[in-house]
């Protein structure tokens, strides 16, 4: 991958480095990668990093004016090459506030000087709590109506409160009357000027990321669920959960990676097993897999769902019972073919296999969401299909876990499902939960200011109920991060329509993008979605490229070899 000259330099450096230095280099590079920033020039030691300023534009709206305005300003920023994240205050996670760097608030005032409905929680939060905003740099664009006595009151309140909490107002508040456009533009010019000025990042290089404790084994993190939201609306046939995990220690990952989560067995089932066997849950037992109390073994470490036929056979032998060759849950096995006593049961524990982790595509981006945070998108029907139906009713569904719950997970590095160079075009095809890695891609490219164009094909059943991450996708589209967004909602019309129909409608443009070097990604359900998408791609290559079936297949194979056609399907 490296040019010969670079490789030589690199080898020289490594060849002369002490083991401690090597560990430091390893962590240093991980830190750079995790931040999505470029490595500094190798010759200039501790040169300032080319850092993108972290800026967030939030809006609180009642009539929709503040939202429209904020959207327009964010799009204007993008055009100037300024990276500015756009969010509604109704979707803003309040605990993020102390971590913000540059923070711009567009907010209207209602009736008797009240905050707009969508900003109510935010408004109450900043007034009821004492977050430390000493590193926050902010400015307020207050919308109001001079016909009312308490003109722009909410904007003033936010300004005053932020100052009281230690934040620095870097641009004076701008108040706007009902014809707000000109005043808003004046304010925004200052914002744009400020953000496009060279970064005054301190000359310290990114801190080395902690090196994984065990170089060989998996590094496990403990994550706390801070948000768990069913993204589908009432009346949907789907339940898709957006789960946000935070960690104490930084997590090293890249967009495209997946996480492995060890599911927990249901407490009720564990209790039932303990009752059936008379075992003491607190008794410490050592099995080939782990040493822990029986309760912990049954809850976290061992698979008790839908045991393998081989395990059942061993159980039959151990308990000297005649049991047909079959698979079943441990709890049923114990109920139908009981163990003699608790002592025998501790031997049974040694027969059980460890719990298999479940893999989920990561939906967050290190650059956009920080290195102490991981988001995933989990569909209940996939859980039902893979866990409940295959493994029985033993393990807990992540979507049912309340906020505050903790989970153990590890990062499973993706080999090829990765973002290409920042200037490359990408085409993302990800219906349903296939959206997850693409939310990560888009957030990453948004936060790092990557210039390559992005095109996303998404599909689900119903537009108004199942458009996962709709407001975020709209914001990406509005600010230009998503240059194209094509949607297929299968049940909104008499004939079923899927992403591949949309691809065919856009065949000419799609092929153009491929010719221009676009990378193609497919994410979501393997069968039939990803197979039909592949057939559709082949059809487009044939028809648009004037190729035979063999040529088209070879063409796609070539893309695959160049890592320009990548799939993350399940």
């Amino acid at each position: 991958m490296l040019e010969a000259a670079k490789l030589k330099q690199w080898d020289e450096l490594i060849g002369t480095a002490s083991p401690e230095e090597l560990i430091w280099i390893n962590g240093y590079l991980s830190g750079i990668v995790a931040r999505g920033a470029r490595a500094p020039e190798p010759t200039t030691e501790a040169a300032p990093a080319v850092a993108v300023k972290k800026a967030h534009l939030v809006f609180g709206t009642e009539t929709g004016n503040a939202r429209k305005l904020a959207g327009r300003l964010a799009a204007a920023a993008k055009k100037k090459g300024i990276s500015l994240k756009l969010s509604g205050l109704d979707q803003y996670r309040l605990t993020d506030l102390p971590k913000e760097d540059y923070f711009f608030v567009v907010i209207s005032t209602q009736g008797e000087g009240e905050p707009p409905l969508t900003a109510k929680k935010f408004y109450e939060h900043i007034h009821a709590t004492q977050p430390d905003l000493s590193t926050l740099k902010f400015s307020v664009l207050a919308l109001g109506d001079t016909a009312y006595p308490l003109y722009c009151k909410t904007g003033e309140d936010v300004q005053q409160r932020f100052k009281a909490l230690g934040a620095t107002e870097i641009i004076p508040m701008q108040k706007c009357d009902v014809d707000y456009d000109a005043d808003a533009d004046t304010w925004f010019e200052q914002v744009a000027k400020l953000l496009s000025a060279p970064a005054t990042v301190s000359a310290t290089a990114p801190a080395p990321a902690p090196v994984a404790k065990k170089a060989s084994g998996k590094k496990y993190y403990e994550g706390t669920i801070v948000a768990n939201i069913n993204l589908n609306d009432r009346g949907s046939n789907r339940e898709t959960y957006h789960i946000e995990l935070t960690t104490e220690e930084p997590v090293v990952y890249e967009p495209g990676d997946t996480i492995g989560i060890v599911p927990r067995n249901r407490a009720a089932v564990v209790d039932r097993i303990l009752a059936l066997t008379g075992a003491d849950g607190e008794q410490l037992v050592t099995t080939p897999k782990a040493s822990a109390s029986i309760r912990e073994l049954l809850t976290i470490h061992l698979n008790i769902c839908y045991l393998m036929t081989n395990t059942v056979k061993k159980y039959a032998a151990l308990t000297a019972q005649d049991i047909p060759d079959t698979r079943m849950d441990l709890v049923d096995l114990l109920r139908i073919y009981p163990v003699k006593d608790a002592t025998v049961f501790t031997e049974v524990l040694s027969l059980l296999l460890p719990v298999a982790p479940r893999l989920y595509s990561i939906a967050s981006s290190p650059a956009a969401h920080g290195e102490n945070e991981i988001h995933i998108t989990v569909a209940k029907d996939r859980f039902l299909a893979e866990d409940e139906q295959r493994f029985g009713l033993c393990s807990e569904f992540l979507g049912d876990l309340p906020t505050g719950s903790t989970l153990n997970f590890y990062i499973h590095k993706s080999r090829n499902f990765k973002l290409p160079a920042p200037d490359k075009k990408i085409i993302m095809i990800g219906p349903g939960t296939g959206v997850a890695p693409f939310r990560s891609f888009l957030a990453e490219r948004d936060a790092t200011g990557a210039g390559g164009e992005n095109w996303f094909f998404f599909g689900e059943q119903y537009f108004e109920k199942d458009f996962l991450y709709q407001t975020e996708m709209q914001a990406f589209h509005q600010t230009g991060v998503l240059s194209r967004l094509d949607l297929a909602f299968s049940r909104d019309q008499a004939e079923r329509r899927y992403v591949q129909h949309r691809m065919l409608q856009q065949a000419a443009d799609l092929y153009n993008w491929i010719e221009q070097g676009a990378h193609i990604y497919v994410s979501g359900v393997k069968d039939p979605m990803s197979k039909e998408v592949e057939q559709t791609l082949l059809q487009i290559i044939r028809e648009q490229g004037g190729k035979t079936t063999e040529e088209a297949t070879a063409f796609l194979e070539q893309l695959r070899k160049e890592n320009r056609y990548e799939k993350d399907v399940y």
Partner: protein, 556 residues
């Protein structure tokens, strides 16, 4: 505020809309949002629709990272409010297939459907079109649905007057084919002449309302309209119309320049031709002189404030080329609907059904929607909507009356209409939450339960038979005509209403604010005190509105 010559943004949208087309087609095709583009939100009103969203669901949807649940309200253009039973059946099906299912009878004698998703708009309009129904100009800065007295008593005159409502509606229709192209896929003809001498390319500065009343019933609330026509009937013959102008009830909280106003009498004209000419020229005067800078001050009432009633009349006579005669005498005696069966001069029967707040739906105790559907299926009754949000089963022949009667009994409609209390039957509420973007407080969802709490107070003073008019609106824009009621409740914030009293019963005097921002408990307490004083001090048959005016408003 704004400079006089600084046009409001909506003016630019109208003139640059290419005959109300704007980018509506592009908005419809936009897959990523259930909303339409901002400018198109102004234009779609001219096509009879409003973009709304379910305000109850905003917070929950936002948490789910979904946009607000946008949908559209569509309002039909039904001059005089009359449809056939076949059309009712069609509306029933469209409502079930494309909207919330509730058919809402409006305060302007038409019906509207709510909750239509963007992708359902075209099928809805296409279905209406096959029923010979349209929604052109049902909203927007144009003449809206023309109202006409619905009371069937003097039918010979009524038929003449109904025809008039149709003629005015047609006269004031925009000339653009945009509606047919956008919603009905009519091919756009590039160089078709679409010149619109009335609306030009700027339309009116604001909405415009016309109603025709036939004394002694003022069921259309004629003076609350921009133009109110009062039929002058002498010896059972239609002699012509008195013309009043400049009514309008909307106001804005905190904006002292805005206020509700009743129309001023201009004079009398005798022939049909002259009436149409006068109506037309009042609209051109408003087109040319109305305030186009501030939409809150754009209705004809403010134009008249500037020109003076005499000034308007002078300009009108100049534009018409004839003089108005002095207004002829007329007397309004009532504004309410005649519930139950009535027979007209020709021997046909009419049954006015009480529809609380105009909402036709099936409820467990009252399957009104099914009842009306089955009655429509007999084909024996036309449907006429009233300005009080009720429906009259019309033109039922003597021999068909038992059949209709049987269905009214079967579904409990007759009993419901008879049993409902006087206050409830004379009450009115606008839509407000959860769909109206302007609402500050509840109206139609709340008024029924509030009335249930006021009724015991009335009973306490033996006032339950009094036909007091009570009207509630969720904001001061007056869709439910709350300023023209004996008791007006005008929303100021969620759960709070300004209490207005002292309006008269027949719609010739507006009410006045008596208490600010009252919650339910305060309202009930105040009303208790008012009723107590009223019952102890009233003279003979003095009604509540007149008593309240003299006691608490006049001279204060």
């Amino acid at each position: 505020m704004k400079e006089k010559n600084n046009l409001s943004p909506v003016e630019r949208i109208k003139t640059s809309s290419d005959g109300l087309r704007g980018t509506l087609k592009e908005s419809l095709h936009d897959q990523i949002t259930g909303a339409i583009r901002e400018d198109d939100q102004s234009l779609i009103k001219f096509h009879g629709m409003y973009q709304q969203d379910d305000r109850d669901r905003r917070e929950e949807r936002s948490a789910k990272k979904l946009e607000w649940l946008y949908s559209f309200m569509i309002r039909l253009r039904l001059p005089g409010g009359l449809i056939t039973p076949e059309q009712w059946l069609g509306i029933h099906h469209v409502a079930g297939e494309h909207s919330t299912g509730v058919i809402k009878i409006t305060t302007r004698q038409t019906v509207q459907l709510h909750g239509i998703l963007k992708s359902h708009i075209k099928p809805t309009i296409q279905a209406f079109n096959t029923l010979n129904l349209d929604s052109i100009a049902a909203c927007g800065d144009v003449n809206r649905n023309v109202m006409c007295s619905a009371h069937p008593g003097q039918s010979a005159i009524h038929e003449q007057v109904f025809a008039f409502a149709d003629k005015i509606s047609t006269l004031a229709l925009p000339k653009t084919r945009a509606y047919y192209e956008i919603w009905l896929d009519e091919e756009q003809i590039a160089d078709r002449k679409e010149e619109d001498p009335l609306y030009q390319d700027r339309y009116l500065p604001r909405k415009f309302k016309i109603a025709i009343a036939i004394p002694p019933n003022n069921d259309v609330d004629v003076f609350t309209n921009d133009i109110g026509l009062i039929a002058v009937v002498e010896n059972n013959e239609l002699k012509g119309f008195n013309i009043a102008a400049g009514g309008g009830l909307s106001a804005t909280h905190g904006n002292a320049a805005t206020y509700p106003r009743l129309a001023s009498m201009l004079g009398f004209v005798d022939t049909e031709e002259k009436v149409l000419k006068a109506v037309y020229e009042i609209m051109t005067i408003q087109r040319d002189n109305g305030n186009r800078a501030d939409r809150k001050l754009a209705r004809l009432k403010y134009t008249i404030d500037r020109m003076g009633v005499d000034g308007l009349k002078e300009e009108l006579e100049k534009r018409c080329g004839f003089k108005l005669e002095p207004a002829r005498p007329y007397t309004f005696a009532t504004r309410k609907d005649q519930y139950g069966w009535q027979q007209n001069h020709a021997g046909n029967w009419f049954y006015t059904v009480f529809v609380e707040n105009g909402r036709v739906l099936d409820e467990e105790q009252l399957p009104l929607k099914t009842a009306l559907y089955e009655i429509a299926q007999t084909g024996k009754a036309n449907f006429r909507f009233t300005g009080n949000q009720n429906v009259i089963l019309s033109d039922v022949r003597d021999e068909d009356k038992p059949l209709v009667d049987e269905l009214l009994e079967k579904f409990g409609i007759a009993g419901h209409t008879e049993r409902a209390g006087a206050l409830r039957k004379n009450a009115m509420a606008c839509v407000a939450f959860n769909t109206c973007p302007l609402a500050l407080a509840e109206a139609q969802r709340y008024l029924p339960s509030l009335i249930s709490k006021i009724e015991p107070l009335l009973e306490k003073y033996n006032l339950q038979e009094e036909e007091i008019t009570l009207r509630m609106t969720g904001c001061p824009n007056g869709c439910g005509r709350s300023p023209a009621a004996e008791i007006g409740l005008i929303g100021t914030a969620y759960g709070e209403y300004n209490l207005h009293i002292g309006g008269d019963r027949i719609g010739e005097r507006l009410n006045t604010k008596y208490k600010d921002s009252q919650n339910e408990e305060q309202l009930l307490q105040t009303l208790d005190e008012l009723f107590h004083t009223y019952v102890n001090e009233r003279k003979d048959s003095e009604n509540f509105g007149d008593f309240a005016y003299q006691k608490w408003i006049q001279g204060k």
